[in-house]
Structure formats: C-alpha cells, structure tokens
C-alpha cells in the first residue's frame, strides 16, 4: 500500500530540502517552526494487465454502447490522441496511447472498418516529430498509417480541415477538426496526468482552432479558474463543457478513452528525486552530490539532452471508456486518489523548484515564459479549495531562467518576450493590444503548419495561464535566474533563497510562514 501524501513541518532536525533548478537542483534550508514541505503520495501500483484492462474498458464503457457495437463496415472512424505535451516526462515504451490505439484498431479490424484516420490532437501546440509520433503510437501503427497519410496532425490553421459546429449560449464558437466532426465515431485517446486534462477539453480544445480557443484561453477565464485542477471552480472547464454540449447536440459522436498514471516519475539513478530527503540513504546522498556537481560543470545544452532523455517509469493505474462526462468523473476520482494531499490552511510564502520540463518544452528549452507558466500557471494551481499561499503573499521559484529560446519550437515566444513583455506584463492589456496580431501573423502560421513551432498566439496563452497566480500574489521572486530575464517577466531576481526571504520580508514580514510544494512528482493540494 503506497504511502499517502505528506506535509512535513520543518524543525531544527529537518535536513535541507531539494529544490529543482531547471537542469540541476539545490538543497535549501527552510526556516524551522514556520515552514512546511508538501510531498506527493507515493506511486500507486500500476495495473497488472494493462492491455486486458484497456480491452475491458472498450467492451464495458460507461453510459455508452461497447465499442464493437459502434463499429461497422463502411464507417468513418477517427482516433484522436493527446500530443507530445503528455505525459511528463515521456513514458517508457510502449506508450499508453499506443496500447489503446492498437486495441481500438484491433476491434475496428474485427468489425471490417477500413476508413480510419489517426490524428494527433495538437490544438495550437507544435507538430510532433516523426520520432515523437512513433514513440506515442508505436512503430506498427505509425508505419501502417503515416505513409498513407492516415496518421497526421491536427492543423488548426487549415480552413479546409476545420468545421464550424455552432456556438454555446454564451456565444462561444465551436470549431473542430472536420474529419473528427464528420466521422461516424471519434475515439479520443487521453492521458490524464493532472485533473484538468481530459473530459471535453480533449476534443473541444485539442481538436479546435483559435476561433474556439480564444473563448476560454483568455485572461478573464484563466484568472477566474480557481483552480484549473478543480472542475467545479474552473471556468476553463466549464467553457469546455459548454462546447462539448454543442458538439453532442450537433451529432458529433465521441467515445472517450481516458487513462490515469501513477507518480512513478523518475527512473534510476534519478529516483532519489521522488524521495523525501530524510529518507535518502547513503547512495541517494552520494548520487545527489555527484549528479549536481557534475551538472554544474556540464554545458547547459548537454545537461538538457541528458534530462530530456529521461523516460519515466510511470505506468497506467486506470483506464475507462465511454461517454465523456461519465468517463471523466471516474478519471478525476482516480487522479485525485493518486495525487491529492490534504493541507491545512495557507501560508505567507509558497516556494517551488521549477524543473527542466513542462508540457510545452518537451525536447526543448524551458524559456522564461515557460518558467513563469510552470510556476504560476501549473504549480501554483495545483490546489483544490484555496491556494497554498495567501492572497497578497509571495511566490518564490528557483530556476536559472535563461534568456534562451528554441527558435524552431518557440519563434513567437521570442517576439513576445522582446516586444510584448518589454511593454506590459498585464494579461488584459497584452490580449487587447497584441494577441490578434500574433494569432494572425502569417509567418507564425507558416511555421506552425509546416515546421515544429507553437502557434503564434501560444505565448499569450502561457502568460494568461499564470493570470490567477499573478493577480493573487503581491510579489514573485526567482532565485538564481538570469537577472535581465527575470526582470523582463516583471518578477524580482534573487541570488539565494535567504536573499529571496529578505526581499519577501517587505511584503510578508520577517517571520513568514512558508509552504514548499515538493514537485514533481505531481500532486494536488487539498487546502482546507
């Protein structure tokens, strides 16, 4: 039986706590008597027979006919799957998506279905490389479908490949992939890494266009989502659900397959990263010292390659299929079962170590905008109830925050950083003044459609993602970051954690209470 999450009250005997710093880490001593460290639950046991569980889910769906009953010769079947942004880190082969897709294809073949398209549900993310696609769907599926043009990536800028479905009562446009919309059945294959994944977000976001996305990927919706991980208080979730109803009402038939994963995040020799520091054995301590010392001398590019080469041992803990809402209810319960940690009350300061990876820099650079998004967009939002830090409190992150961008993956991020953030960090101002020009920029569209670039508007979405965190906190401090880059973000740079506490004292006094969210592994803090 895995141990649940744990909140450690820091005392004089507590060892220094490990903080991520991008492609490295540090040990930080937190003040005794007023600090706490929140650890994720230990990994649940993975399913023993994953393929059997998948087949069982397809044959025994929730609120839906079994998949074989939906398949018939001559039908149009579309299988959509989550893109490279999930899971994190990428999992060891075989990927969950491969297993599910192969199971669906087996059933389709049994039913004589021969019009099958497989679509990576990118939304406005970057196109995956062949290697990434092969990793996700497996060589067998890739070789059978990709050469014939039947496995491809959603193109949110191809007007011929989009279909306008309608609008919600709130006036939100619903436009999704035409093939998916016009199929007799859309099977969506999801990986639910965190509670906000899946559900109608899969189709209404993953297969949609800017025309649709702008209705919920905006400062107002993001700021009002408290948090993304709490469906009942997430405006993002509600908007996607409204769009889902439009899809259902228009006759789009979706068979949702959702999977959950355990928190077994790092393989050996990095498994000490998931452990609680006081439980580190001599080997763990030696590994930490050796790895961190070596990384200090390793060129950043090489260190990045090392970390992005990590394939996580995490594995499937549940799979459920059927009607979107019914499936997602169970999925969410399963995610919470693995990730929920009960925490009492808020503190003045929230500290977080920003790791080398987030959903948008797989095999890429964690640029400053993504640092902000990972901190204020993701880790800050890993709560249910109320934020870990009080309103007006301070967030302290640790990350080198290099002024460095991947020009292939993030071309519009560079312009966003140079042009938009040089003028304003206010999500509302930038959305009004700049979003449209970035979204409609023909060059960004070209790179998105033909290269491996995130859509022109994507950096805005990353910034909006942190809207709630920015609005909630009175100051954000980044320890160890590139000073100019941190200032461009509108945050305060600090050299050391002690300096950061000193700087924070202007806002929270000299004896603030402190929470440290010890992630990854991921968790959701149920703050009472």
């Amino acid at each position: 039986m895995p141990r649940p999450g744990f909140v450690l009250e820091v005392d004089r005997n507590t060892p220094p706590i490990m903080f991520w710093r991008g492609e490295n880490f540090s040990l930080e001593k937190l003040p005794a008597g007023r600090s706490r460290v929140i650890y994720a639950p230990e990994p649940e046991k993975a399913l023993d027979d994953i393929d059997g569980a998948i087949r069982h889910a397809l044959l025994n769906p929730y609120d839906h006919d079994p998949l074989p009953a939906l398949l018939f010769p001559g039908m149009k079947l579309t299988i959509a799957f989550d893109d490279v942004s999930l899971p994190l880190p990428p999992m060891r082969r075989p990927d969950i998506r491969q297993r599910v897709i192969e199971a669906v294809l087996d059933l389709a073949a049994d039913a004589g279905v021969d019009d099958v398209h497989i679509i990576a549900a990118l939304a406005l993310h970057r196109r995956m490389t062949e290697a990434e696609l092969r990793h996700a769907v497996g060589d067998r599926v890739y070789d059978a479908f990709a050469p014939r043009g039947l496995l491809y990536q959603h193109d949110a800028e191809d007007p011929e490949a989009l279909e306008y479905i309608g609008a919600t009562p709130q006036g939100e446009d619903v436009e999704i992939n035409k093939r998916a919309a016009n199929s007799d059945l859309l099977v969506y294959v999801n990986i639910n890494l965190v509670a906000m994944d899946g559900g109608w977000k899969s189709t209404a976001t993953g297969l949609s266009s800017y025309k649709s996305l702008q209705h919920h990927h905006n400062p107002k919706t993001m700021e009002a989502s408290r948090s993304f991980m709490d469906q009942h208080k997430s405006e993002l979730h509600k908007s996607n659900w409204r769009m889902g109803k439009v899809l259902v009402d228009s006759g789009v038939k979706v068979f949702q397959v959702e999977t959950t994963m355990n928190t077994d995040t790092f393989p050996k020799p990095f498994d000490f990263l998931s452990k609680r520091e006081w439980e580190w054995n001599a080997k763990d301590r030696a590994t930490f010292v050796g790895v961190s010392a070596a990384l200090k001398r390793t060129p950043t590019r090489m260190a990045r390659n090392i970390f992005h080469g990590i394939e996580a041992p995490h594995q499937m803990t549940s799979v459920q299929a059927g009607e979107v809402g019914a499936v997602h209810k169970i999925t969410t319960e399963n995610v919470y079962r693995q990730q929920l940690v009960e925490v009492q009350g808020q503190t003045d300061i929230l500290t977080m170590g920003i790791p080398y990876i987030c959903p948008y820099n797989v095999n890429s650079i964690m640029n400053p905008i993504l640092v902000m998004c990972m901190g204020l967009g993701y880790l800050f939002n890993m709560y249910r109830g109320m934020p870990l830090v009080r309103e007006g409190g301070v967030v302290i992150m640790t990350h080198p925050t290099p002024w460095d961008f991947n020009p292939v993956h993030h071309p519009s991020y560079i312009d966003f950083f140079e042009q938009v953030l040089a003028e304003t960090t206010d999500p509302y101002v930038m959305s009004q003044k700049y979003e449209k020009s970035f979204a409609e920029d023909e060059w960004y569209k070209h790179l998105y459609r033909t290269g491996n670039a995130y859509h022109g508007v994507h950096p805005f979405y990353m910034w909006y993602w942190g809207s709630h965190g920015m609005q909630h906190c009175s100051r954000v401090i980044i320890v160890g970051g590139n000073v100019k880059a941190v200032r461009r973000l509108g945050f305060t740079p600090a050299s050391t954690m002690d300096d950061a506490f000193e700087i924070a004292s202007d806002v929270v006094g000299n004896t603030p209470t402190i929470s440290h969210i010890h992630a990854p592994p991921l968790m959701v803090c149920d703050v009472k």
């Binding site: 560079i414 312009d415 140079e418 042009q419 040089a422 020009s437 920029d441 023909e442 060059w443 070209h446």
Partner: protein, 397 residues
C-alpha cells in the same frame, strides 16, 4: 597656438589600430595624434577668415583616423599633418559666432560652382578636393592648409560659415554639423519611399549620427514609421524622444521589422522588409544586417564610414538592393520637391529637438587622451557626443 595634430606615421597607426580595441586611451597616446604648439595656419587670402574655436566635437571618422581604422582611400584626399575637428563652433575675429560647414567645396578652393547657389558638398566631380591652391583635404579637419577645430584657431572660407542665432546655446550649435549629416541620410531614404502608403525605415545604431538621422526622418520625411536598433538604454531613450516609433536592441531589430512588415523569414533574410534602412554603424555585420532586413529593391543608406568590410553580397544581387553612401550634406531635394540647404535644416533641427542634451562631456585639449577614450566608449559610458571646450582663456594659449 595649441593644436592636436595627426601626422602620417604608419607604424604608429598600426600600433594604434591594434591597441584601440583594448584601450582607446592608449590608442590616443600611442597613435599618430599629439598635442603640439604650432603657428596658426598661414592666411589664405580673400574670403578666408580666422575662426577661434569654442567647441569642437569628436566624430566617429576622427576616431577611425586616430585609431588607424580609416581606409587608405583617404591617403590622397587629406594632407598631413592636419588638425582634426570638423564639428566646430567658433568666433570670427569680430566675435560673431559661427558653425562651419566643413566640406572644402568649390568656392573655398577657387573652382567654379557646379550650379548657382551650390553648397560646399554639392557637385559630381571631386577634383577640387585634391587640387591646388589648397593642399588636399575633403574637409576642414583633414586639410593641412586650413587647420581644424581641435586647435585654438583655424581658417574657414566664407562659403563654409553659418551664423549661429543669438539665442542658441554653444552646446546646441556644436550639434549642427552632425545633425546635418543625419538629416542628409534621412532624406536619402526618400527615393525609396515615394508613393509608399506606409513607409518603414529602420535605423541601425543610435550613436550621435543614428540619433540625428532619426530626428531628420521624423522632421522631414512625412508619415514614416521609424524602427531603431539601439544598444544602450540612454540611446534607446533618446531615440524614442527624437521620434522613433519602435526601439529595440540591435539583435532584436530583424524580428521587430518582421513583425511590423508581416513578412516571412527564409534563411537569415526577411522575405520583405523595410523600404529603407540607415546603417549608422558601418561595419561588415551592420551592412549584413541591413541587407537582411531591407525589402527587395529597397534602399540602404550607408551613413557610418565602413572602411574595409567583408560581406556576402549575394542577397544584394538577388534582391536588387540599392546601397547609397551618405557623406556630409549639401543641397537637398525635399519630399515636396523644394530645395533646401542641409545646414539650414540642421540649424532648425538642433533647436527644435534640444540637441544640446546630446553633448555629454567637454574636455580641454590638454586632456585629449581622456576625451578620445571617452568618445570611443561613449555608448558604454552612457554618453553621446564628447567635445573639446576651448572657451576658457587657458585654452587659447
């Protein structure tokens, strides 16, 4: 009288060239310039006046000469030893304040004017610059016969003199000559902008000349959108205050132009680009940058003195880019078709734009090494224009 003098000392030039990158002050100390006591220039006859220097600026071309970076092209167009200083405010013997239009034109050299009312810089045959009666010299400050502004006094022809309005400060007036250069560059963009609905011009570099070009564009080129690549914060602030619309770091300029134009990027080049670009830096890298951001059949105005450069011109060939040099000033054809003397425009501009604020430091001639070092690292040190100040009695002797 006291004068800084440049001699033709090849070995010193070579050494200065080597050390200038490390220490501009050392380059000044080692290089071909020295502070000397000399007789005033011999009178040159009718029409010539003795001008007593008040302020004299240090220009990029002066620094190139002192640091040994200037092209050998000039060897036959200057006469050694010469006293530099072509950005000059001085007094005539009757006390009148004047600025010098330093080009030693046809009138000064006794040649027929290329057209009635021509300015010193006008004409399409430069023979007069190198032929007697004067010794060769493209300008005051490069001619042995006349002397230059980095001395107590020098000679200027009446065709070079511009009276300074009484209400104008010395610091404003000393900026007239560089302002004229900037305005000339700005107006050289105009042929590429005729008939363009939303003209876009980029200025690469925001030292004195780049800033003056910005002022010229804003004042005399209607409806132009100005993008500037400026390295230092004070340069960026000045660029904005002089009328630039978008100011970014130099390595961000290409992306800023692309955003503004809405074009694509292929390889290192924009597929479109600015209608015209002013290169106020003048080296291989800056010229290459200009080629990359200027649209096909656009125009590059080369204001910075380039010397020898190494540039791949394939892009220029393919894009049919026009490159024009921009040297000094003369008589301009304005966008409305009228004709104006650049110096007249510059006198208006320095007053309207409060260009005295660009004078960052003044030095006596005795401290020329410090002055030159300061000018050579002006951007880094938060400065724009460094000038010699010879207004005190001590400086006269």
């Amino acid at each position: 009288m006291k004068a800084l003098q440049v001699s033709r000392k090849v070995a010193r030039l070579g050494i200065a060239r080597m050390v200038s990158a490390l220490s501009p002050a050392a380059a000044a100390r080692i290089g071909p310039i020295e502070l000397v006591n000399i007789d005033p220039p011999a009178p040159l006859g009718e029409g010539w006046h003795t001008v007593t220097t008040r302020l004299s600026g240090i220009c990029g071309s002066d620094l190139s000469t002192i640091e040994g970076h200037a092209s050998t092209y000039f060897d036959d167009w200057v006469s050694f030893p010469f006293t530099p200083g072509h950005e000059v405010l001085g007094n005539l013997t009757d006390g009148t304040r004047v600025v010098i239009e330093p080009v030693l034109g046809h009138a000064a050299r006794g040649f027929p004017l290329p057209f009635p009312g021509a300015a010193p810089g006008d004409g399409d045959d430069y023979a007069h610059l190198a032929l007697p009666p004067l010794e060769p010299g493209i300008q005051t400050g490069f001619c042995h016969s006349t002397g230059g502004g980095w001395s107590t006094s020098f000679l200027a022809h009446e065709s070079q003199l511009h009276h300074v309005p009484d209400e104008m400060s010395d610091e404003t007036a000393v900026m007239i000559e560089p302002a004229a250069g900037g305005i000339h560059s700005a107006l050289l963009c105009w042929p590429a902008l005729v008939g363009v609905e939303n003209p876009i011009v980029a200025v690469l570099g925001a030292g004195t000349m780049g800033l003056c070009a910005i002022a010229g564009l804003r004042r005399y080129v209607p409806g132009v959108k100005i993008l500037v690549g400026a390295r230092y914060p004070h340069q960026q602030a000045l660029a904005r205050s002089l009328g630039a619309d978008i100011v970014v770091a130099p390595d961000e300029l290409q992306r800023a132009v692309r955003r503004e134009v809405g074009c694509h990027v292929v390889g290192d080049y924009l597929t479109g680009g600015t209608h015209a670009t002013i290169d106020a830096v003048g080296n291989s890298k800056s010229i290459e940058s200009c080629l990359r951001i200027t649209k096909p059949r656009g125009r590059i105005v080369l204001m910075g003195m380039p010397s020898e450069v190494s540039v791949d011109l394939t892009g220029l060939w393919h894009r049919e880019t026009h490159i024009v040099g921009s040297y000094t000033y003369g008589t301009e054809t304005m966008p409305d078709g009228s004709r104006r003397r650049t110096f007249d425009l510059a006198i208006d501009t320095v007053a309207a734009c409060d260009m005295a604020r660009m004078v960052s430091a003044t030095y006596p001639l005795d401290d020329y090494e410090d002055a030159i070092a300061h000018a050579a690292s002006a951007g880094r040190r938060g400065a724009v224009k460094v000038v010699f100040d010879l207004r005190s009695t001590k400086e006269k002797h």
